[in-house]
């Protein structure tokens, strides 16, 4: 993943410079949010489903080690080879070893945010091994050497002209033909070839069922299945939080997942893998990469309930106007902003601040993660751990000092409404970001308190 060195605010400012495109991005994702609303309204039990999903995940996290052991043992009984990886590096190494052991040349990969998180493509590329991403959106961004900007809609930042140009360059489609139908057909032909010749398929995992040792993978395109059923080796990669106790619980999650993600009643394919087909090797790689640490943070552990539907992305007014790349991490959006500080606090200290704390994310979350409260809590942690820049710190310390002292507060207020100095956003000079595109409030003749003393106090 090409990580930008810009902070979220800086990258967002770049993004917004093209205002019509920002509007388009915002409206496109808002449309997805509206489809989600419509789908949710279709089920009178919607809020109850969310509650069930949340409680099933809470229960699972509270018994996770036992469920993982049960899952592993069942999967092994099913003929699956189970691997454990403490971090991204180990995950990549395991996959690399399987590839080299079998002298594999042709690899297809369906969408797995975990492999993005671990930087698998880059790792393999550095070793001279190429993987073909087969989700259409992921293939588009792979051609362009960009990371996905959204976990469900990886190329949502691109317009069809961009895709047309990219396909013209890589797939020799007609120049200027922007028809999505035509472009999708070109990708279909191109990727069918890749599926048919593939020797190894990597997929993600949406749910792993402890009682059966099975995994469920959801796609609309069918690319995970095309890969996994065509290749002789299937590797499924999962963060350990994908676990659920029983197959019957899939009903709750499959009812919520696609409705929350895109407003569809269910994804086209919800594939349940239990055993490798005859002659096939099937591997499951179970990854920690900071998750056990997050499990130990009482304030943040329930972020591990996430089922990666991206409803919080689509509803987030900041995400819609800043684009996924401004979050400079594999998982962007509000959920990314509470997951990524756990992985690297210094590199991702800006993310919990990339929110107005409006709370819409928590309201759409199908597993009821208190996302906006966790953003607030991460801010406290980041300040305490010293990951917030000093100017901010000095400003807010000064502000706190004044506001804790009624006399000083009034004095500051009276000093020609120099009160503005107390509020970092009201610094009265041209460098003040408030003033760049907004007028200052006009200072009144007297404060409310002054008025009150004059008019109300006998």
């Amino acid at each position: 993943m090409s990580t930008s060195k810009l902070s979220h605010a800086e990258a967002a400012e770049q993004f917004i410079k093209d205002e019509p495109r920002t509007d388009w991005h915002d409206e496109t994702l808002w449309f997805v949010r509206q489809k989600r609303d419509k789908a949710a309204h279709g089920l009178p039990e919607w809020e109850k489903l969310r509650e069930w999903a949340s409680q099933i995940k809470d229960h699972t996290l509270s018994n996770l080690d036992n469920y993982l052991k049960e899952f592993e043992s069942k999967a092994q009984d099913n003929g699956v080879i189970v691997h454990w990886a403490a971090d991204g590096e180990e995950h990549n190494r395991i996959i690399y070893d399987i590839i080299t052991h079998h002298r594999i040349k042709k690899i297809v990969k369906s969408k797995s945010m975990l492999t993005e998180e671990c930087g698998l493509n880059e790792f393999l590329h550095a070793k001279g091994i190429e993987t073909v991403d087969t989700d259409l959106g992921e293939r588009i961004v792979q051609f362009r050497n960009e990371p996905p900007s959204h976990i469900v809609l990886p190329a949502i930042h691109l317009k069809k002209q961009d895709v047309s140009d990219t396909f013209h360059e890589h797939l020799h489609t007609e120049k200027g033909n922007n028809d999505p139908q035509y472009l999708t057909e070109a990708a279909r032909q191109h990727l069918r070839e890749k599926f048919i010749e593939s020797e190894l398929a990597i997929t993600g995992v949406n749910f792993a069922v402890a009682e059966t040792g099975g995994i469920v993978v959801c796609t609309n395109e069918g690319n995970a299945d095309m890969g996994a059923h065509a290749a002789n080796i299937h590797i499924a990669c999962m963060g350990f939080e994908k676990m659920i106790p029983k197959a019957e619980h899939l009903s709750v999650f499959l009812r919520l997942l696609a409705r929350s993600a895109t407003g569809q009643p269910i994804t086209t394919y919800s594939s349940h893998f239990h055993k490798p087909r005859e002659g096939q090797d099937m591997h499951i790689v179970i990854v920690d990469n900071g998750r056990s640490r997050q499990l130990g943070r009482a304030d943040f552990r329930n972020s591990l309930k996430c089922i990666r539907c991206a409803a919080c992305f689509n509803t987030c007014p900041v995400y819609r106007r800043s684009g996924g790349h401004s979050y400079h991490t594999a998982v962007a959006g509000p959920i990314g902003s509470i997951l990524n500080p756990n992985i690297d606090m210094r590199a991702n200290a800006d993310l919990p601040f990339a929110s107005t704390l409006c709370g819409s994310c928590s309201n759409v979350c199908p597993v009821k993660i208190d996302i906006h409260d966790q953003l607030w809590k991460w801010r406290q942690v980041l300040v305490e751990e010293g990951y917030v820049d000093t100017t901010k710190k000095v400003g807010l310390k000064g502000m706190a000092f004044v506001l804790a002292r009624p006399g000083l507060y009034r004095f500051a207020g009276k000093a020609g409404r120099a009160m503005m100095r107390m509020f970092p956003w009201l610094l009265n000079n041209k460098l003040n970001p408030w003033y760049k595109q907004r007028e200052m409030p006009a200072p009144p003749k007297e404060s409310f308190r002054d008025w009150y003393i004059k008019n109300k106090q006998q």
Partner: protein, 193 residues
């Protein structure tokens, strides 16, 4: 210590106090007056087609016509005549040439149009995905209201693979424009007997 032990130890140390699973009360989930109508409406909304049949003979005729026209058709439904049983040996290249596959579904779900297929019903795991067009036959009595009901009736781990399949393959990855026929089947017709 192996990664496995390290991870399990860390989880055991960091997990919260055990909380209970919720009780899922099916009496509180949505009910449909007419399951067949609901099923048809939803499947159409996600790009599939439905045809109600009194008996399976007309479908038999359609299959024969296709075969006579030289289309590469794979039939997995005994009631439709000869069943193609030896699909195991077919490679992806072979299967990519399949024009239409005829499969029998176990359970259909009214709330979302999905049909459960066991591996044994596919004959080859790749078939329902790689064929150009897909025809699935379900029995009217096997339409259930929701996924909760569906999971009560299937046994997910009975075979090596199974799928809930809802409509033809699709994508909206280019500017959110819906395109039917991404990688998998370009069409799905469900016959309800």
């Amino acid at each position: 210590m192996s990664a496995r032990e390290t991870i399990l130890k860390a989880i055991s140390a960091n997990k919260p106090t055990l909380v209970d699973l919720p009780a899922i009360d099916l009496a509180t989930v949505i009910q449909y007056g007419d399951l067949v109508e609901q099923y048809k409406t939803v499947l159409q909304s996600i790009g599939g087609g439905t045809i109600e049949l009194q008996d399976i003979n007309s479908l038999k005729a359609e299959l024969q016509t296709k075969k006579a026209n030289g289309d590469f058709v794979v039939n997995r439904i005994a009631a439709l005549g000869d069943v193609e049983n030896s699909l195991d040996h077919l490679t992806a290249t072979d299967l990519a040439a399949v024009d239409t596959a005829y499969l029998e579904g176990s359970i259909a779900v009214a709330e979302n149009g999905a049909i459960w297929l066991y591996e044994s019903q596919m004959g080859n795991r790749l078939l329902p995905f790689i064929c150009q067009h897909l025809v699935i036959v379900i029995e009217r009595k096997n339409i259930v209201p929701t996924m909760h009901h569906a999971y009560q009736q299937i046994e997910t781990a009975k075979e090596g693979f199974g799928v809930f399949l809802a409509g033809p393959s699709k994508t909206a990855d280019i500017e959110q424009s819906l395109v039917i026929g991404a990688h998998g089947a370009r069409s799905l017709i469900v016959y309800i007997i």
